[in-house]
Symmetry: D2
Subunit: 310 residues, 4 copies
């Protein structure tokens, strides 16, 4: 049967909760101002039951508030930075940020838009040690690695090679995600220490992007910017059937959804009209949080000024 698609652990749980399968998942929530933070620890047993890789998933939800109010924005940045710091491994070596996705497609441009805004410092440490030491900088490097159709290479291949060369202590992979619900688009951030699985993200990465393939811990940060059109269609049809009190068989449902796409075999997604502003806003939030998490000697205000000065 058609598999409903989501990259959010929160929604995976939602899909499976209906079936009462929740062993091996520990959930805690807290509230910081207008931001709701949910942490899920999925054990190997939980992985088997919900299909999501074992590890830690943290979700920040704040709805439209983030956009309109600078204070909510600042709270979201500092909470996200706090969670990120808790995941960053100690030790030598820089943090390497990988901006995944296609810069030319608005809904897939989150990763490159984040790396564009990072305060990279690895070269300063190498070239101007004193300036580096005195300024409160941590060591950060970043690359937007493009997509398969542009480079002929998987992002995982590119980053695995660079990891071998520069030996970072971890990789932070930033990527646009698919959610199951339109309401979540651009209003939720997901952070995880499990990396990225094949088939995730808007670009549908074919290779895993995790500790096994890269050789160092991989933290992933993402924001849902699209809903898969087929997933949306199934949800709609189910709701209608539910309301009208009948149960269409799976074959009928699939026939309708297939008809929708005219057998073109193409992937379609649903996205808000103002996806440029939403993606840019999400990129500002995530880049500010990564800057703050890595450059421990600096405040959010100082980092913002760094970016707004000449």
């Amino acid at each position: 049967m058609y598999r409903k698609r989501t990259d959010l652990a929160l929604e995976t749980r939602e899909l499976h909760a209906k079936k009462g399968q929740e062993d091996g998942i520990v959930v805690t929530t807290r509230q910081a101002g207008e931001v709701k933070i949910t942490a899920m620890e999925i054990s190997p047993a939980g992985e088997a039951s919900c299909g999501k890789a074992a590890g830690r998933y943290v979700t920040l939800e704040a709805g439209a508030v983030w956009r309109a109010e600078p204070e909510a924005f600042e709270t979201a940045v500092s909470e996200l930075a706090k969670e990120l710091r808790a995941m960053l491994p100690a030790g030598e070596g820089c943090v390497l940020a990988a901006g995944l996705g296609n810069r030319e497609i608005t809904a897939d441009s989150l990763g490159p838009k984040v790396t564009d805004r990072l305060l990279v410092t690895r070269h300063i440490k190498l070239l101007e040690k004193d300036l580096f030491a005195s300024a409160g900088f941590g060591e950060l490097a970043a690359l937007a690695s493009g997509v398969l159709g542009q480079t002929g290479m998987e992002s995982a291949e590119i980053m695995a090679g660079i990891v071998k060369q520069i030996k970072p202590r971890c990789v932070i992979a930033i990527d646009a995600l698919a959610s199951r619900r339109l309401e979540r688009l651009a209003s939720t951030v997901q952070l995880s220490d499990t990396g990225i699985r094949p088939g995730s993200g808007v670009s549908n990465h074919r290779a895993a992007f995790n500790r096994e393939t890269l050789g160092v811990p991989v933290i992933s940060v993402g924001v849902p910017t699209v809903v898969d059109a087929g997933t949306l269609a199934f949800d709609l049809l189910e709701e209608l059937a539910d309301r009208e009190g009948f149960s269409p068989d799976d074959a009928t449902m699939e026939k309708i959804v297939e008809g929708l796409q005219c057998g073109s075999g193409k992937d379609f997604f649903v996205t808000p009209k103002d996806s440029d502003a939403l993606t840019t806003g999400a990129a500002r939030l995530i880049s500010a949080a990564i800057n703050l998490a890595v450059h421990r000697g600096m405040t959010q205000r100082e980092l913002a000024e760094y970016q707004s000065g000449w």
Copy 2:
């Protein structure tokens, strides 16, 4: 009730044909290689029955063929140029191309991507008369006028002002369109001599863009790049109801579709994952056709070489 949205005359007719209202519409079709060309003449009576402004609409359909085969591409360019030439008014003054839409949103970037590729010559005529005269050029000017949120001005206001100043003999407005069917995305071109109505296009122009508001004839050229999410949802629900043999009432349908959007009041659209390549391809086709239609002394090959030289 929810109004299904389409910018294509072909589909408007489809929606209304069901109700048997076709007075005042004359349709002729022809085939050129793999390209099917449909011309619709809508009379004022037809306008009343189908809700589409009276005038001439020409649609080129070629499906995926255009993308894969250079010959089909060339056929499409020359057929589109032929239809465009037939609509261009004779007389003095340049042709002014207006690239509508938001460059930052892939599915809405068709207009700016077309104006980027036009061979503008109006200034050459003013500055180097002899070069202009000898080269087989027509007189072309172009502007991508941005969107309301970027400029604070309607595209129609901007272009109306420029028309007063430079007095072109007509305006060609290029815009991304909304279709009702996913299969039509990026595979159909619509050409019309009626301009653009309020609420059309991906950006939802608020002001009309036609002879009345601009003061000169307005030809519009567009390619559908999105399907409105609500329209898609209604079509899906209707099909399920149809297959299952029941008639849900309108209120139920609307409730489901509203629920989908969580009362966010936001607009969502559906678009293919490779919308960057599709939009760029469509922009190449339309720009080549406009160049060919305006610069009458040059061949398609010469114009292509113009763009590929240093």
Copy 3:
């Protein structure tokens, strides 16, 4: 003889001061923190003697300080906003910002980079009156009008048309300038109430951009980003001659400078290697100052937050 090129009133005066021609120019200076502000009032008599249009020119100089220190940046923004406000005419109608220059050429991209960062509000006033009134907004519209080779139209033609249509109370034209001295590049801002003359700017506007051609007052704001290569060459040769104690004749000098360009008739300019960062920084300064000058009910901090929120 070769005419040394500068768009800065400060430097024009420098060139002419040597010859003792300073009638009709009144200069006052003041210091605000690290920023030096020079105001020059050129009377019609001064226009005749120094060749610069009669009017008011204000120059802010702060050297490299602006770039490194957020406080100096804020001082520069508030001083520039203060001078701008003093030039803005009272009365009805919006302020229309015109971003001049070629976005594709780094050193010429100042204008478009500024309009990209403006908080335009004219449409909010038209569409959501209450939000507009309560927020402390002034009325601002903006357009980057491209260059002749891209549009086939002079920026002056485009803006003159738009002025007729939307009737702003004034135009602010932002443009990259040519200086005579490398040291001034990206460290000086010039503000003037005289508009822009033919031949000024990096793109060499062919048409004047002032009250006569646009029909409303024109304020120009610019930052030098290039030095004309021929001007630099002459200055170098003169200095060598001076140091070595001889006077080469003009013909020799011109021959050398011509030889430099191989009779290509091309224009060359000199620009710093990091012109992208310098131009972006200058654009941030100018856009912040325009936002602050127009949106009188808001503080610099609030405006910055507006841009950093989602």
Copy 4:
């Protein structure tokens, strides 16, 4: 003393020829239509005398002709492809193109503009073997690796890592160059089998980019887009001294050139005003030549159609 800067072997020879040091350099020239091709073989002895790494350098010169005439453009493409093919090592593994330089600075954007236009196929070989085999494709991958200030990593580090991972049979590095003469800007292409030395290019690469650092053969392709401002100044001053018959001492010369830059320690360069069109044109030429050299089963026409289709 100040070292005059050039990245062109042709000009290095010119500088040294004056001193009669030409041992170990073998030069052959040929003409193809309007294009002049010069091949220089520098032996280790030649390396010692002229300071340029031992290896093969091929230069194509065609002046402004390339820009204006499609036929001259096609000749240049096919000649450059022929020379490139002769340098490509036989054997397994893909060709990896590295677009060096800063996309945000027009004169330094050649590398990224070339990789944007390459027909990458490595992933097609992996994913769709049959399509790959039947189409006459060679195996090509490409990446624009950004600059130090954007990534915190040297391009040489990034590419060395990727080379270890994907094991290409060679790397083609594309980069904007510095010439000594304004007349050469954008009218000369240099091809070499020696890679790129520290301090070369517009971005001043700090690490070598050659067989030693990357582990596979490195072919470099570049076009001069800038002249170093100090180099230009020295040449000018020398010419004046020469014409006037005196010999200024080195200290005087250096003082003047230093004064020019006001001790800012900054690098300035000289570049033509239309550097966007020139760089784009050069990128089209080089990308067409690389596509043709690698995809041996396809013609120039077919490759162009590939890029102009949807």
